[in-house]
Amino acid sequence: MATHESAAQESHAHAAPQGFIRKWVFSLDHKVIGLQYYFLALAAVFVGMFLSLLMRIHLIWPAVALPILGDIKPETYLTLVTMHGTIMVFFVLTTAPQGGFGNYFLPIQIGAPDMAFPVLNMLSFWTTFLGFIVMIAAFFVAGGAPLHGWTGYAPLSAVQSSGPGEGLGADLWIISIAIFCIGALMGALNFITTTLDMRAKGMTMMRMPLTVWAWFVTAILGLLAFGVLLSGGILLLMDRNLGTSFFVPLITMNGQVTGHRGGSPLLWQHLFWFFGHPEVYIAILPAMGMCSQLLSVFSRKPIFGYKAMVYAIMAIGFLGFMVWGHHMFMSGMSPYTAFAFSIMTMGIGVPSAIKTFNWLGTLWGGRIRFSSPMLFAIGFVSLFVSGGISGPFLAQPVLDIQLHDTYFVPGHFHLIMGVASIFGIFAATYYWFPKMFGRMMNEKLALWHFLFSLIGTYAIFMPMHYLGMAGMPRRYSQMTEVNYLHDLIGLQKFITYAAFITIAGQLIFLVNLFWSMFKGKKASDNPWEATTLEWTTATPPPHDNFGGHTPVVNNGPYEYSVPGAPRDYVMQNDPEIEPAH
């Protein structure tokens, strides 16, 4: 196996490119591609955040006209909802943790010179980029962007006359997602092959950092999930433009019979959520891996229960494919299947709880350093618990009757797959910035950014649970038409104010990021005194990652405070320590 691995590595060595275009634009270097993904996600997250701010403003001041955009109409609000969700899920939560950090650090952490398929890697980034351009283009065509929500339920999404934005805008939306799926599939293949075939000598599967495990399992989920969404998207395009009826039965729209016959609106939901639920884990698994990594590094203590963590990642990935029906308890699907999906969903709480216990176990008895990455890792644990705890409410169909499609749901998923994942991205940024750019980020600014983000996001999303319990439905552009909603406007106002403050806090991050890139303190090769392979190489790493030699791995990834060792950490390529007990 070892000789096979090193042979695979040698065949992938390629010379460093010369010239701007080959080096920074159409680069084959996984590190450059990782940065490209990262900055694409950064652009996308600010677009997505801006859209959410407009939503918040319209919700509490429906009559206010906005600069540039003018009056916000109810359909404009739904457009904002749709595009905010789509951009955030695909181009931020899927793009940054996996495409960005996974690309940059997976090969280095396993001791490889590059990804298994560098050309495919370049193609997957540019495909994703094209997808983003097409998505943004939907804003600028006649009728504007679609209003059918990020889930695109048919027939609303399948018939052009169902509302404004359901013409060309909706076509572009579907095409963009289809393009994104192709990019994600190529990326997934690359990640899986690289992890299986490109590991350095001694890097057994059970010595891989938990970040690598998370990226690896995420890639498997992506490979199985995006293909289904791609097929669903193509069928939806055909329903919209070629007169097929996969998802549309006989219906009338605006008094006109549409000509469709015999299709099933529930079929779309099954295809969508077969992708959509694993997608949640595609967003959060890398953040879980990141958090595990950082808690160990900054507690100066081995991760608690490495094997349990690996099995929990696998269990979450596996069960993640059997729970999609919990989005459909109220859809008209058989109530018997709801019962089965519910059991599976509650079951997925078990590996999630195991991870939380292990994170606490890692902190327990450590010597915690509160560097910026660690702050966000601790914030992640708190958010993961808070967002996770509302899961068992929604996972039980009998409680879902009341809570489904209320604000309880956005409250739940924003905390866990939204903000917790974003905290993973922030933690990763602060942690790996020195390796990527050779400079440190400013710790004071990072602390302020952390405080704004943690308190701010709780102030935004915790009250959404209260709104949901009180019966406030999602995706309502105004609260004027339902009497009991009038009482809830005060709480909505509070959320909007909190959103303003939280978003202002994100500007601190932006300033810190770009200022530190040029003016930050110079970083040493291993500023956090961590053990994994990326900290054994130069900062920033050379084109082939390890400057012509291939590391040999002798130790596990989390050997901190080893009794008898000369320092409080043992690098993975240090001489082998006595087997731990």
Partner: protein
């Protein structure tokens, strides 16, 4: 910094929990037979999850404070890779908690969704369309007449909106209304339909929600136990007017209901 984190995490936990426990915002008043059962299970879940939430957050805040790096005065770091017995214990405990909760609620779900409505239930057909709800009663013959999509005229409202087919004799006595009127303490069988896109029939006070899907006739039931007026909402995104797809449920005594229905039927003669 450890102390700052402890204070922030504990404060967030305290404030969040306060508003839940004080019930500042809570479920709307329940007015159906199922409401007390559902609310009870909600409370059980709420207490169990609340305990887990508070315990985990307190432990997190406490751990980061207690085990902060105190420089040379720090105690030695415990070099440990974990504890298999602990892993087994918390795996088993969480499995029992989650699966147990689920099984405890399954009988309520079964009575709500597994069984059909009783034979003597009051039958109301509910149709959702952009952006209104219509309610149809079968009339003295007890039969819903045929409808024809070609005849639908949403802008005309009422019977025309549903596309009632005059050629079917059973449709002659059907009563179509914009407000749902039902008798108290009787089981109501709801037959849900949608003309254009998916809508969701949501009556918060009845603890009732079910999507209305084009192409399907979904049979559901609920039993109101309190007279009064209750708001009906659409809970599934259905287009630009989603937020104003609003209706009213009037729960009245059996006599009032009979009188009301007889008057509507008389108008049809």
């Amino acid at each position: 910094m450890g102390l700052v984190l402890l204070i922030i995490i504990w404060l967030i936990t305290l404030v969040s929990t306060y508003f839940f426990v004080a019930k500042t915002w809570w479920l709307p008043v329940g007015a159906s037979a199922a409401a007390p059962l559902i609310d009870h299970h909600f409370t059980v879940t709420f207490i169990l999850m609340g305990v887990v939430f508070v315990a985990a957050q307190l432990a997190l805040g406490y751990a980061v404070w207690l085990y902060r790096d105190r420089g040379s005065s720090s105690s030695k770091v415990a070099y440990s890779h974990g504890n298999t017995r602990l892993e087994v214990v918390w795996t088993v405990l969480t499995t029992i908690l989650f699966v147990g909760l689920n099984l405890a609620s399954s009988s309520i779900w079964a009575s709500e969704r597994f069984r059909a409505a009783e034979a003597n239930a009051v039958r109301v057909e509910v149709t959702g369309m952009q952006f209104a709800w219509y309610f149809r009663y079968p009339g003295p013959d007890g039969k819903f007449g045929a409808t024809n999509p070609e005849l639908e005229d949403a802008s005309a409202g009422g019977e025309a909106a549903l596309g009632l087919d005059p050629k079917d004799p059973a449709s002659k006595d059907d009563v179509v209304t914009g407000t749902m009127v039902v008798p108290v303490n009787r089981e109501i069988e709801v037959i849900l339909r949608a003309h254009d896109v998916i809508h969701s029939f949501f009556i918060p006070n009845m603890r009732f929600k079910q999507d209305a899907v084009p192409g399907l006739a979904i049979h559901m039931h609920f039993t109101p136990v309190q007279t009064g007026d209750y708001e009906i909402l659409c809970a599934e995104l259905c287009g630009l007017g989603h937020y104003k797809m609003h209706g009213m449920l009037k729960v009245v005594s059996q006599e009032e209901f009979d009188k009301w229905l007889a008057a509507r039927e008389a108008e049809k003669q």
